[in-house]
Symmetry: C2
Subunit: 361 residues, 2 copies
């Protein structure tokens, strides 16, 4: 193993000079720098990470804590992980992968040992148990997702409320009046994953403003559950012509089911998805969708932690604006909607929202 001392000797300079050439923390004369750089490449020198961390009090590692759950759309997690890694690299940092099965202890371990200089938490819950650890250790951190209490924390997230609102606007603009919102599984809401609720309430509010009648249905995302949900929607609100789909798993099934039931998309029914671009593109018809910039999430998170590692103390909360891309799955509301009829069966209140429904004809 080649050490800095050996490089120094080879170049005929002192060890500190080599160190400074490497770190750029003091000015070096051109000839000296060249001699050192030659020695480095001739000997194939690579600074020892452990020694650097020990002496410099900085591991140049960021820990990324990823969820184990698979009810999040996995490719997006991966996209974030990759953008985190690449952004970190561009700042001279490496990324340590920590899985959430260690729970709060995982965070404690990597932060307290100095293994990582900072921590990025993915899939943050409203009342996340890892946050107290962060506060206790005074760790440098950035959260992807918004907890209930962001005091003192740096966070990035999609602006889910706007995402929901964009869906309502788009369908309202197209003349739809009865719109169903196909949500996530009940567990997701129960876990109080903020994004699910923020999207829904952004949608709800804008729907109210635009005078839409809406129906919110949680959905597991499997074919069967989607079939059940769609069936109940069409039973309860036969005049429904717009669908906003939050649960990506329900997209494929929903499209099949609409087709099977003889409804053409977008002539008879419009579908707006809350999902990543590739997913929207690979369906048939291609889906009008609201998408947030996943890569920016990772990039920003890294920049937030690095700022904190660099000494910044002001927490920042950034919400990234999503974009609605119209594709083939949405169009003007049909002029003659399916004949509205009275709801056939009793409804459970938890299940149905007649938010601001005008009385059915």
């Amino acid at each position: 193993m080649v050490t800095l001392a050996e490089v120094a000797q080879h170049a005929g300079v002192s060890p500190s000079t080599v160190s400074y050439v490497l770190s750029g923390k003091r000015s070096i004369s051109e000839p000296t720098r060249r001699r050192v750089e030659r020695a480095i490449s001739e000997l194939g020198y690579h600074p020892n990470a452990g020694a650097r961390a020990l002496a410099g009090k900085r591991s140049h590692i960021i820990a990324l804590v990823v969820p184990l759950r698979t009810d999040v759309y996995v490719p997006i997690m991966m996209e974030i992980a990759i953008s985190v890694t690449m952004t970190a690299r561009s700042h001279g940092y490496d990324v340590l992968l920590v899985t959430n099965d260690e729970g709060p202890d995982g965070v404690r371990r990597v932060a307290a040992s100095g293994l990582a200089d900072g921590v990025i938490l993915m899939d943050v819950e409203l009342d996340d148990e890892r946050i107290p650890v962060l506060r206790e250790l005074g760790s440098h951190a950035a959260l992807i997702g918004l907890p209930a209490d962001t005091t003192g924390l740096s966070c990035v997230d999609h602006d889910f409320a706007t995402a929901g609102a964009l869906c309502a606007d788009h369908l309202a603009d197209l003349g739809h009046r009865d719109v169903a919102f196909v949500g996530y599984a009940p567990q997701v809401y129960q876990r109080h994953a903020g994004y699910a609720e923020r999207t829904l309430s952004g949608f709800r509010e804008r729907a109210r403003e635009r005078g839409l009648r809406i129906l919110h249905r949680p959905c597991e995302g499997s074919f069967e559950s989607t079939a059940g949900v769609l069936g109940r929607i069409l039973d309860d609100r036969p005049a429904t012509t717009g669908f906003v789909v939050q649960n990506e798993g329900a997209l494929g099934p929903l499209l099949s089911l609409l087709r099977t039931s003889g409804r053409i998309v977008p002539e008879d029914a419009s579908v707006v998805a809350l999902c990543p671009e590739p997913l929207a593109e690979q369906n048939s018809p291609r889906l009008t969708a609201v998408t947030g910039p996943a890569q920016d999430l990772g990039r920003q998170a890294v920049e937030l932690v690095l700022k904190r590692i660099g000494g910044a103390t002001t927490p920042e909360v950034t919400l990234l604006t999503p974009v609605l891309t119209p594709r083939e799955s949405s169009g003007p509301a049909p002029l003659t909607a399916a004949p509205a009829r009275r709801l056939p069966a009793p409804q459970t209140p938890a299940d149905v929202e007649n938010s601001h429904a005008q009385p059915l004809p």
Copy 2:
């Protein structure tokens, strides 16, 4: 920050004793151990990772090099990454995420700097440019995937040849005679990703043994390309009743298209997928599929590197046996196949394989 020396003082023992209590590398009297352990928890001591790495010549970190490409099924990559991380943790190791955009230099960097004690390479290509670096540095490594030359290397991979063979067997058992193989995009074969070819040749060989007539078609995986591919298959071999689908992206489109063209699965056509379980389950009908154990891939890779880090020098190549799970998408070949007719258009030889076709009637 609490140091080992402080713990020693607090416990009234020497620093080395504390170190040995932690590492278990020499026997400690029960009372001493208890005093030390109490001091550790009272002070909230966490050993400094950098110091440990420097003094111990072991970072307790494994680097996992992941591909950037998205033509691999991403959830599987994630599953592997997670099983790698968890297995590593269970051995006291952490995992550093390295993206392949750094190329061979990324491997060099983490290995030569002592940042990582070992390296796991994902998505290994037949002639992978990272392998020479491994050899040059004498790094401890495990590969997920089989390169052309495995000399001196430890590797794990699925037994893709068997996977292909299982598909052929299954369809042959069900009485199918004309089977189409919907493959990956041409680039994948050109990149010589071993798995694509090994699956295909395993399939081919078994198909020959079983007397199947096969047609191999590369496919991009998009709806359009799948439509094109299916169209050509049905043109060229109207009697085709079995489909083996290697490109997961083509699955959804293929099922839709078969339905659209009036073919019921599995009554008129059987589909066997080479894909992960969740994907097979979430289609409708649920797909008969051949699946390899992704988690084992990660687990084994970790165990292989750790063996090498521990001093083992014998390379091991492990192939994990895939399993075919029959579901709803495959059934007996229809008694009256669509009437065979002469191929309507000239074929490009690269495109079609009449491997061992009997002359058409």
